[in-house]
């Protein structure tokens, strides 16, 4: 069974700062990794995903994530955040043996201060 851990429940930064949101997973085989964003009162929206190839993947709105097999990680980054990036961010994993079973982490609430 795959598991995913997001160690930071809350992250606060100032507008224009860079940010990294951490995601670590546990699974013995090949895995799909994704990030989603949830604005208050809404469902989740897809940001980006990784399965193979270049370990750095680009997403929407300037987000990128980097896969590391050695660290079992898929951290999300943005070079310069905007106040509208304030939201909850979820990391998700699914094994290639059963890609339909998508498991989410507990989420990281990002607060961007003006």
């Amino acid at each position: 069974t795959q598991t995913v851990s997001q160690s930071d429940a809350h992250v606060t930064v100032f507008e224009g700062d860079s940010v990294e949101l951490r995601c670590n997973y546990s699974y013995g085989g090949s895995i799909y990794l994704s990030w989603y964003i949830q604005h208050h009162g809404h469902g989740l929206q897809f940001l980006l995903k990784y399965y193979s190839g270049n370990p750095v993947v680009q997403g929407v709105n300037g987000f990128e994530a980097e896969f590391s097999k050695s660290d079992s990680s898929f951290h999300l980054r943005k070079a310069s955040v905007h106040w509208s990036d304030s939201a909850v961010y979820f990391c998700a994993v699914s094994p290639s043996s059963n890609t339909n079973k998508v498991v989410f982490g507990t989420g990281t609430r990002l607060q961007v201060l003006p």
Partner: protein
């Protein structure tokens, strides 16, 4: 583009009551999901379905039933609501888990 519609948006029930949540999608996606979202606990998978009349249990299926009678719809039943229970139930759909598309949720409150 498509849309996921969850009904009702708000559901208030009594302890012990059986409650049904509905989800419709017009993406023509094969796979549909039900997740429960509790504050501080992220999303927990209740059931998913890879095609019409298929049901697969997630990690939180105890206390729930699901039904996928049509490709476009997926319903979830809370078999016996627990007192003071509060959660948001999110429905999603996807093609081959490439990208999940979510509805805006049903907020459940049990009195």
């Amino acid at each position: 583009g498509g849309i996921i519609t969850q009904t009702p948006k708000f559901l208030i029930g009594q302890e012990g009551q059986k409650l049904t949540l509905k989800c419709q999608q017009n993406f023509n996606h094969d796979t549909m999901y039900w997740y429960r979202q509790d504050s501080g606990k992220g999303l927990r998978l209740i059931y998913y379905s890879i095609t019409e009349n298929d049901l697969q249990k997630g990690d939180l299926s105890e206390g729930y039933d699901a039904s996928r009678e049509k490709k476009s719809s997926f319903s979830l039943t809370v078999t016996s609501a627990q007192k003071n229970e509060m959660a948001v139930f999110l429905c999603a759909s996807s093609i081959y888990a490439e990208t999940l598309y979510f509805g805006s949720g049903t907020r459940l409150t049990v009195l």
